[in-house]
Every structure is written in C-alpha cells, then in structure tokens.
Amino acid sequence: MTETLHYRLPWQSSSVYPGAHPGQMIGAGQLFKRHEPLIASPDPRRIDLRASVLDPFSSYRVRVYQQQSSVNVYLIADMSASMGYADKQQTLLRFLLTAAASAFDYGDKFGFIGCTERIEHRWLLPAGQHFGRVSALATQLERLSFTGSANGLQNAVAFLPAERSLVFLLSDCHFPLPQLRAVLGSLQAHDVIPLVLWSQDEYAALPNWGLISFQDMENNATRTLFMRPALRQKIIAAYQQRQHDLKHLFRAFGCEPLFITEGYSTQAINRYLQQRTA
C-alpha cells in the first residue's frame, strides 16, 4: 500500500493522545496557543519575560503551545446488494486498505462499520491500530457477496464514539433521499466525508440500441427497456439530476460529496481532501 490519503482536519481534535492533527490539548507543539500562569503549566523554559513584566498581578506567564493530536477515523461502508455491482466491491476493499494504512501512518486509530440490512458484528471493527485485523476483515469482505438493502446505515452512529471523529461514508446512495437525510442527521456530531460510488456501466456506458432486461439487485424487480439514443440520454439525465439532488442534500448538512464514477483513484480523493481543508 504505497498510496496515502492526505486527510487534514479543518477542526480541532479533542483527543488527548498526540498525533498529527490540530487538537484542543496543549503540550509539545509549534503553534503558540496562549499564556498560562506558571503554576498551571510548570515549565520554566517557556516563561515569557515580556508577558510576565506586563502582567498586572506580577505573576509568571508561561507560553503554551497547541499539541498535535490524533483523531479516530471511521469508514462507514454501505454493503447493500447494489454495492456488489461492477467493481464497487473492489473499490470498497481498496479504499478500506488505503484508508486504514493512511490512518496508521498518521498514528490515528481506524475503525470500520459495515452496514447491510442491519449492522452485523462480524462487519464491525472497533477503532484500533492493528493492520492485521484490517487485512483479515478485507479478506473476509472479498469473499462476501453483498445482499439486501442499506437500512443499517441509520444505526451506524451507535457504534461511533461520542467525541467528534472523522467519518468516511462510502456508499452509492441508491436509496431514497429521506433515508439519506436521516443518516446524515444522525452523523452530524462527526466530520463526515461522503464518497458516492457510481459506475459508468450503470448509465453512461449503456448501449445506444438494443433490448435490455434489467433486474434490480436489491428487490429483484425486472424492467425491460428498448434502448435507443433518446432513452439513453434520458437515463444519463436522470443520473445527473440524482447527482444534483444528492449534492444539494449533502451540502445542506455541511459536507461536499465526492462522486467516484470513473474508477477508484487515491489521487482523485487526495485532490478532493485538499480542496476540502483549503
């Protein structure tokens, strides 16, 4: 795993453990935070003489610095049947391994919550720093064929810690908007990074002419379409409208989604992450 996700926090982590992200703790750091009395922060090396002289109570003022803290990184993955389409499952696995490796590189803890019809314990990985457990989970996931719907997403928040964490939400968002609204509402305490996984095969790569019988992967309904250029344009337009609606909804919850439609690329996600913190 050579590629790393360069995620940065636009907020301060409340974690007490030193790490790589701006935190609320004070300690060994480079960024001046405030002055404190010597009694609160007994470090004579950091006594600020000028501030001490100017202090009306004539006490010693000590400069304290912001400590770089760690953050808990979670990946909430939609494991419904529609995520088994084309190469979405492979993308999920690659992203799982990349994100876990990046988190461990930063010294952060990484956890995984897989959501199907409900949340199953075998697809839960509590925040930790063992890559072995992540890769074991990945091998298990590789063998799994996804079934059912993504209703479990709404309960994912119960498995997240109380303090603000960084949450990657990886889904194809193929469920009704109210359901997505409920999911995002429940995750508001956390920093959510929505990654919407679509495949070109779903809409853009449809043929211009022909009869196709589609079977829904989740409810097994079938619909036969007589494909022709006009209908293909209509389908593409429907997907674009859906993309527009999704963006609108995500923005209402303060997060900009990243649509992964042309195959997985860590670079593309990194570019998006950099724009996000800028």
Binding site: E202, P207, L211, S213, F214, Q215, E218, T224, I235
Partner: protein, 326 residues
C-alpha cells in the same frame, strides 16, 4: 366461420400460451437501482407487443397441432346463368375430322374442336352449374352439376381418350336429365347435346323422355357436327322409301325433339367455325337469373397456424439477436 379442431385434447396446450406472462425469456442484467431508471412508454409498448407475439406463436403452434380447420359450409349465391349438362357423343366417328377423315396436321378432329370450344364456353360461364355426361354404347356418368370449373374442364379434357363404338343417344339423354333431379328449379336448365350422328329411339324410351323433359323443364340444344356428305338434320329424303328412322336417324331424332313440347334448338355445324357460332348463340341466350348454393369445402387451417407461428417465432428470434446482455 365455423372453426373446429381434430384433436380437442391438444387444446389443453393453450395453457402454455400463458407462459410469456410469467417469463420474459430474456437474460437479465443486474441494475443497482431501478427506481433511477426513467419510465419509458415505448419500451412498455414494445414489451407488450413481444409478449403478445410470444403468446400468439405458442397458441398458433398448439392450434396447428390440434388441427384447426374450417368446417364445410354452403353459401347461397345469386347469379345469371343456367344449369347446363354437356352431353357428349363418344362414338368413334367423333375422332374424325369434319371431312370424315382421320385427323392430320392441318385439320382437327370433331372431338378436339368440340373439346376446345366447350372449354372456352365453360370458361365464359362463370356462374353456371355445369355437369358432364357422355354416351356411346351406354351412358357414362362423368361429372355431376358443379360450380367447380376446373373439374368441368378436366372432365372435358378427359374426352381426349380414344372413343368407343356405338351411339346410344336415348340413354345418354336419360342420364343427362337425371342430373336435374333433386336440384332446385332456378335459372334455366339446359342439356347441350354435342354429337355427330344419331340413332333411332325406341318407343318406350320416347315415352319416358317426353315425360322427363316435361317434368324437369329442360331446354335442349343439339349441336350436330355434320360430316361432309352425310345426311343432315334438315335434309328431306329424296326417296320416300328412305323416309324412316332407320335410314335417316338424324331427321327423325330432330322431329322427335321438336315434338317434345319443351324449348328446343338445333344447330348443324359443318366446320369448327359453325360450331363456335352455335356455342356463342347459346352463351348469349341462356342468361336468366338464378340462385344456387355454393358449397365451400372444409379448409385445413393448421398450415396457416404454423406459418403464422413460424413468422412470429422469426420475429422473436430477430428480437433475440437484438437483445443486449451486460
């Protein structure tokens, strides 16, 4: 439209025609979320059509196997025409030419000329019921009264076989008249006698023929194909000793016909052209309105069923090639 089948139990296979309702027969492609796909009326229409095609194809095959047919029917029709019985002389003298010789390249025989002209005649009389009888030593029943012109023409063509010996005209006439029994009296009834000679009619036959002609209201046309130098119908005997039925049968037969009381017309044809003229006369005269019952035979529809089914299957096969699998 009276439809029937040969083996009704095979119709239980019609239940199979419901199969396309449950199975489209297409390979499905996975779709992540069908709700996103916009609805399309044309697709629904096309699919409905294909389902109907498939159902019709199965139904066609089953009906074909069950042996669908249309039962025999009769239809009442009204036309201008007549019931005509062609009574043909099959004596061997008919195989000679009008000049009384065996036919060679330039002259046709009397039988050939009659055959050719009668074929044309039948062709023109589209609404008639025509029957064919022949006589020589004894009467030959050939074809009852029918509207099937092909059959009549085939019957006329069959007289091309070599002819037989004698001329027994009274029995032939009896048979021709018997054709009209159990036929409704509509239009005109004609016996068209084509002969090249005559024979004496005995007394008993004369009585019977008189009665039958009166009862059946039959008109008689006699086309006498006169051979050169032979006695004609209208010839007066030169010698009163020859004035008897044995010596001049043509004259006496003509006299007998005149005395029948029913309409009678005689033509003496001495060449193919005269024969043609006589037939044209009859053609012009006999056009009274008549109504008759046309019988339509049982029609086997299983072939149609199979061809419709195979056509539909061909369409479905073409659609199958049009199918996309992803």
């Amino acid at each position: 439209m009276n439809l029937a089948v040969n083996s009704p139990w095979a119709l239980s296979g019609l239940l199979l025609a419901l199969l396309p309702l449950f199975n489209s027969g297409m390979r499905t492609s996975p779709a992540p979320w069908l709700t996103l796909m916009p609805g399309d009326k044309l697709s629904v229409f096309v699919i409905c059509c294909l389902r109907l095609c498939a159902m019709a194809a199965i139904a066609g095959l089953v009906l074909g196997m069950a042996g669908l047919h249309r039962t025999e029917q009769s239809r009442e029709r009204i036309g201008h025409g007549a019931h005509i019985v062609l009574l043909l002389d099959r004596s061997s003298s008919m195989d000679n030419t009008f000049a009384g010789r065996a036919p060679n390249g330039s002259d046709e025989s009397k039988a050939t000329a009659a055959r050719r002209l009668l074929t044309d005649f039948v062709e023109q009389r589209q609404n008639d019921l025509i029957g064919v009888a022949e006589y020589s030593t004894s009467p030959l029943f050939v074809m009852p009264l029918t509207e099937n012109k092909n059959a009549v023409q085939a019957a006329i063509a069959a007289t091309a076989t070599p002819a037989l010996g004698f001329t027994h005209v009274s029995k032939g006439l009896g048979m021709a008249i018997s054709f009209f029994e159990q036929q409704p009296v509509t239009g005109s009834r004609i016996v068209l006698l084509v002969s090249d000679g005559a024979a004496a009619i005995d007394h008993d036959s004369e009585v019977k023929l008189r009665e039958w002609f009166r009862k059946q209201q039959v008109r008689l046309y006699w086309i006498f194909l006169r051979t050169a130098n032979s006695p004609g119908i209208f010839d007066q005997p030169e010698d009163s000793r020859d004035d008897n039925a044995a010596a001049m049968p043509e004259r006496y037969l003509h006299k007998f016909f005149l005395g029948l009381g029913s309409p009678y017309q005689a033509y003496e044809a001495e060449s193919p052209d005269a024969l043609k003229q006589a037939i044209a006369d009859i053609n012009r005269l006999e056009n009274l309105p008549m109504h008759y019952v046309e019988r339509i035979p049982k029609q086997d529809l299983s072939g149609t069923c199979y061809s419709i089914a195979s056509l539909l299957l061909l369409v479905l096969l073409g659609v199958k090639f049009f199918e996309v699998k992803r």
